[in-house]
């Protein structure tokens, strides 16, 4: 949505503008939202490759039937830590990186409301990551119960579980502090004239996401604290042997876990809602309905957790409630997909790399959404539960959904951030290899799931061999094609054609219309004038 009704000249505002100090202290002590955003994004990139390496280990093991490389226990650790790293270490920090970079710029604020807490939020991630990675090297190996940390298995494992629980606490504290900062910044530091309903969609999606985080991260923290007391302090919350109920953990975990899915996808919706209008050269269709749809999805996300546990024996009325509530989410999601398509309709579209990833997102995320509806049906889910169909479904949502949006967003804002234009040819190559690799990796997993292949197993029956082979080939193609992305980003930072202030013709948020390229270290010290 256009907010720049008056092109305020910001070039001369920074009479005392200065560059950052050099060396490690710049990054250690920085309170600058751009620096902290950059650190979040690089951290997420590192964790993405770490989690990706684990994924390739999993796919290498599954390339053919039989045990090739790993013992089953280590295989389970790989699937568990892969999930934890990707969810908490890659996708979430990447979106927080975008929020740090873009929220102050898009609302005309000089920085986040609490810059020191912002710094602390980031640096808490490092010990959390070290705990997760280090858990592989303690006796018994890393946690092997899946990223959902289900008891009773998780209660019986070694000290790596305690490391994982501490890591989850740290990551949760970091997320809550980051969310407080984002909400406070958006509500209090908007430039004069930047009303809530004039904010870019990315800011709106993050405002709603931050409320979701504050509501559900403490629930996860409570659940894992109780796991800890079950393990070490003689309680039996989730231990049936002591009168506890493992199913109760599932309820608490998924009360966090389903909103968490939207925490990982709503900011992606925001990024896509910025990219599509820019390359369609049209305003976003149905801005207000996009805001209300985002809020509706967030609210509904609190009443659908039971669809993750249709097989635990809930009453039929409970199953029906969760089934219908889940299907209801298709309505606001459909509104968003409709609006994105309507935005492109009769637009003067061009297909630079960010637009390619946005269109890729739109088509593949919709497939992931539809398979979500399939899984929402109780009788179908009882058959498909814990099969590769579920694995295919959530990878279509989180990889071709969240990750494609992150990559598209990086290409979109990279010229603004660095002052250089990336290599378009390499960007397009990266997109097409990712698109092919991703679909070859994950589409066959639908067939495997429908045929009955369970998830989280290192070996499988011969009937599943062929599609597993294709899935592994696709996974390696997708994984290695991401090296093109890293090369493109690094080479853009170091050199490249000079980017223009408004690199994309249709981009209309404040960072494009009011700030030079590259941006000064401190921006909007004088709030922009918006009519």
């Amino acid at each position: 949505m256009s907010t720049s009704t008056h092109a305020h000249d910001n070039h001369g505002h920074d009479a005392h503008d200065h560059g950052p100090p050099a060396g490690f202290t710049r990054w250690m002590y920085t309170t600058n939202h751009k620096d902290i955003g950059t650190m979040y994004l690089w951290f997420a990139c590192f964790m993405f490759f770490l989690g990706g390496t684990m994924a390739l280990g999993i796919r290498a093991e599954l390339f053919k039937p039989g045990l090739q490389f790993f013992d089953p226990e280590f295989f389970n650790s790989l699937t568990t830590v892969h999930g934890l790293v990707m969810v908490f270490g890659a996708i979430m920090p990447a979106f927080v990186g975008f929020a740090n970079w873009l929220v102050p710029l898009q609302i005309g604020a000089t920085d986040m409301a609490f810059p020191r807490m912002n710094n602390w939020s980031f640096w808490l991630l490092i010990p959390a990551a070290l705990l997760l990675i280090g858990s592989f090297f303690v006796p018994g190996g890393a946690a092997a119960s899946g990223w959902t940390l289900y008891p009773p298995l998780i209660i019986q494992q070694g000290m790596s579980v305690d490391m994982t629980i501490l890591a989850v606490h740290l990551l949760g504290a970091s997320s809550i502090m980051g969310s407080i900062n984002i909400i406070t910044t958006i509500l209090n530091l908007r430039a004069p004239g930047m009303t809530l309903m004039r904010m870019p969609l990315f800011v709106w999606t993050w405002l709603i996401t931050a409320y979701l985080l504050i509501a559900v991260m403490p629930v996860l923290a409570g659940a894992v604290t109780m796991l800890l007391t079950d393990r070490h302090f003689g309680t039996s919350f989730f231990n049936a042997a002591g009168g506890g109920d493992p199913t109760m953990f599932l309820h608490i975990f998924w009360f966090f876990g389903h909103p968490e899915v939207y925490i990982m996808i709503l900011p992606a919706f925001g990024i896509i809602s910025q990219i599509l209008p820019a390359f369609a050269r049209k305003p976003l269709f149905g801005y207000a309905s996009m805001v209300y749809a985002t809020a509706s999805i967030a609210i509904l996300s609190f009443i659908v957790w039971g669809h993750h546990m249709f097989t635990v024996g809930m009453p039929a009325a409970g199953n029906l409630f969760f089934m219908y509530a889940t299907m209801l989410i298709a309505v606001p999601t459909g509104v968003k997909v409709f609006n994105w398509i309507a935005t492109m309709w009769k637009g003067e579209m061009t297909f630079e790399t960010p637009m390619l990833f946005a269109v890729g997102f739109l088509s593949l995320f919709t497939i992931g959404g539809f398979t979500g509806l399939v899984l929402a049906m109780v009788p179908v889910d009882i058959t498909l539960h814990n099969t590769y169909y579920v694995v295919a479904h959530f990878h279509y949502v989180l990889v071709s959904g969240a990750l494609f949006a992150i990559i598209g967003g990086v290409y979109f804002w990279l010229p603004k951030w660095t002052g250089h234009m990336y290599n378009e040819g390499l960007g397009k190559l990266h997109f097409w290899l990712s698109m092919i690799g991703f679909n070859v990796a994950f589409f066959p997993q639908h067939f495997l799931g429908l045929a009955g292949m369970p998830r989280r197993i290192p070996d499988y029956a011969l009937q599943f061999a062929e599609w597993n082979m294709w899935s592994s080939i696709g996974a390696f193609l997708f994984g290695f094609s991401q090296l093109i992305f890293v090369y493109n980003v690094v080479s853009t930072i170091r050199s490249g054609k000079k980017a223009e202030q408004k690199q994309w013709e249709g981009a209309d948020s404040l960072e494009w219309t009011h700030l030079p390229t590259p941006m000064p270290y401190h921006t909007f010290e004088t709030p922009p004038v918006l009519k």
Binding site: N32, P115, T184, I214, V219, M226
Partner: protein
Amino acid sequence: MPAMAHKPETTPEQRKRSLVSAIALAVVALGIYAVVILKFFVYK
């Protein structure tokens, strides 16, 4: 002036409102955590 000592130029009113918002949100987060934990500890 070193960058790390840079102070964002917010008004006292903005700072006050930001602090109130942050405290309220932190209380909500801690409250939810306490409710989850205490519900089960008290029940047990």
